[in-house]
């Protein structure tokens, strides 16, 4: 049995977070909770999330989860932001249960970005 607190996947995502960074002209949502700071940026295509980037101050699981979320949601319908659930992240990254709250903070900021995107789209209409 491994006593490594991080799965191979978490290590890969943490080592090379390809989606880390800011997008100057994008819509963004941020949250500061439970000692974490997370900010998401989205550039939209027609009905889809074209580019998604993140900034995060937190533990390796949070950084890895943010990277996985950004990679997974690019190219998906914008509605996926509002419907995002962190449940799958907990399992796929083997996040320890004591860190559930941190992953839920990430869920909150994704949904918050979804609300901002929706409101911006409604304003454009």
């Amino acid at each position: 049995m491994s006593n490594d607190p991080y799965s191979t996947r978490v290590r890969e995502l943490f080592d090379a977070p390809a989606h880390a960074g800011a997008l100057e002209t994008a819509l963004s949502a941020s949250i500061e909770d439970q000692g974490l700071r997370i900010r998401l940026f989205a550039e939209l295509g027609i009905g889809e999330i074209r580019v998604l980037r993140f900034q995060a101050w937190g533990c390796p699981h949070v950084i890895a989860a943010a990277e996985q979320v950004c990679a997974g949601l690019e190219g998906k319908p914008v509605s996926d932001l509002l419907e995002f659930s962190a449940a799958g992240l907990m399992q796929s990254l083997s996040v320890p249960t004591e860190k559930t709250g941190r992953i839920l903070v990430l869920e909150d900021v994704v949904r918050s970005l979804g609300s901002i995107v929706r409101d911006a789209s409604n304003a454009d209409d």
Partner: protein
């Protein structure tokens, strides 16, 4: 299993490798062609084991300038601390039940004191100054007529500061209070003259000084009123203070490690100073980096640094393959900030970012340079990922 050679080990305050000469001396007592007999046996093989143990006792006593008869072999510093604190408190409880220690002691000291509190003893927990040192005036003010024991560590295991045990011991002796020193980090690393120091009880361990794990010792001064009640029962070994079959090979290992330490202590200190200074010079210009504990009063084998606005757990992972200790309490599974650093008045956030680099005989300049590069790279990476504080 990961091979040790993949790693850059800078955690010598946690444990050291067994010196090759020590390992050789130990092996000679473990195999069929060696002196493996039970030292309690009265036959000639048993007597030979006793001779080996006596020689090791002389080696350790020589390092500390004391008599081998004042040393009790234990399983390590944790047992020595427990025997000293619990044993002395119980032995002297008819005189009084007030005890004094510091908040920055190792858990092997604080936990026995907490256990004594639950038994009705009263403990005064002294805070350090912001540099990590004890203000002796505060100790003197805390000593009462019913105070029986003071326990203060020599070198702090997290921040490396060296307490003035001569001055503290003098203050204790003046008031007929026993003085125990947890010297797990200092025996074999700093000169210690027990013939001259006003120390009544001193805990030590082999594995911090290139000896084996599983063996330690407790020094008990030969002075009136200095005694401990045993924690273990079951045999007459070691004057019934710590019964049990003596692990001759472990003891021989500790003795050999002590002899080596004595012969090269000044060279070790020079080497550790060079490594510590090299590392600090390589990172001190990073914005927000600071040392924990006063470097000018610290053992050079330990450098504890915090950095502003960096998450400690991510820092530790980003530093791999460096093997270093975090500012989290005791082990990496806990995210609680170190109680030692918090006692210095350091914020939780800074304490959580703390990294303890500790150096040893095998540490090379190339390893330190790698650590510098890795630390700088990790900070740059994590600051690059993080949003601003006002986000």
């Amino acid at each position: 299993m990961t091979e040790q050679t993949d790693l850059i080990y800078l955690d010598y305050a946690a444990s050291t490798p067994v010196d090759a000469w020590v390992a050789e001396a130990m092996t000679a007592l473990m195999t069929a062609d060696g002196n493996y007999a039970n030292p309690s046996s009265t036959h000639s093989a048993g007597r030979r084991s006793v001779e080996h143990i006596a020689h090791a006792g002389s080696q350790l006593a020589g390092l500390l300038n004391t008599d081998p008869d004042h040393l009790i072999w234990t399983s390590g510093a944790t047992e020595s601390d427990n025997l000293a604190i619990l044993g002395a408190a119980h032995y002297r409880q008819k005189r009084g039940r007030h005890l004094i220690t510091m908040r920055t002691e190792h858990k092997a000291v604080t936990d026995p004191f907490s256990a004594l509190e639950r038994l009705g003893f009263e403990v005064t927990w002294l805070d350090p100054e912001t540099n990590g040192l004890l203000d002796t005036a505060k100790l003197e003010a805390a000593i009462r007529d019913d105070t029986q024991l003071v326990s203060i560590m020599h070198i702090n295991n997290e921040i490396g500061v060296i307490q003035d045990i001569a001055k503290i011991g003098a203050a204790c002796n003046e008031r007929d209070v026993l003085f125990h020193v947890d010297a797990a980090q200092s025996v074999g690393k700093l000169p210690i003259d027990l013939a001259a120091l006003p120390v009544d009880l001193m805990s030590m361990t082999a594995h911090k000084v290139y000896g084996p794990k599983g063996i330690g010792a407790l020094y008990i001064a030969d002075r009136p009123g200095v005694h401990v009640e045993p924690l273990l029962f079951g045999g007459g070994q070691q004057r019934k203070l710590r019964p049990g079959t003596l692990p001759a090979q472990q003891i021989v290992g500790f003795g050999a490690a002590a002899a080596i330490a004595q012969s090269r202590m000044m060279d070790d200190i020079r080497h550790l100073s060079a490594m510590r200074d090299r590392l600090w010079s390589g990172i001190r210009d990073i914005p927000g980096v600071m040392t924990n504990g006063a470097m000018e009063c610290a053992f050079p084998g330990i450098l504890n640094v915090s950095i502003d606005d960096i998450e400690g757990e991510s820092l530790l992972l980003a530093l791999e393959p460096l093997c270093v200790a975090t500012g989290s309490a005791c082990n990496s599974k806990s995210q609680e900030a170190s109680y030692v650093l918090r006692a210095l008045g350091i914020s939780d956030a800074l304490a959580q970012s703390a990294i303890r680099f500790s150096f040893g005989r095998p540490t090379s300049a190339a390893e330190v340079d790698f650590a510098i590069e890795r630390y700088r790279g990790a900070i740059e990476k994590l600051r690059g990922i993080a949003p601003g504080r006002a986000a």
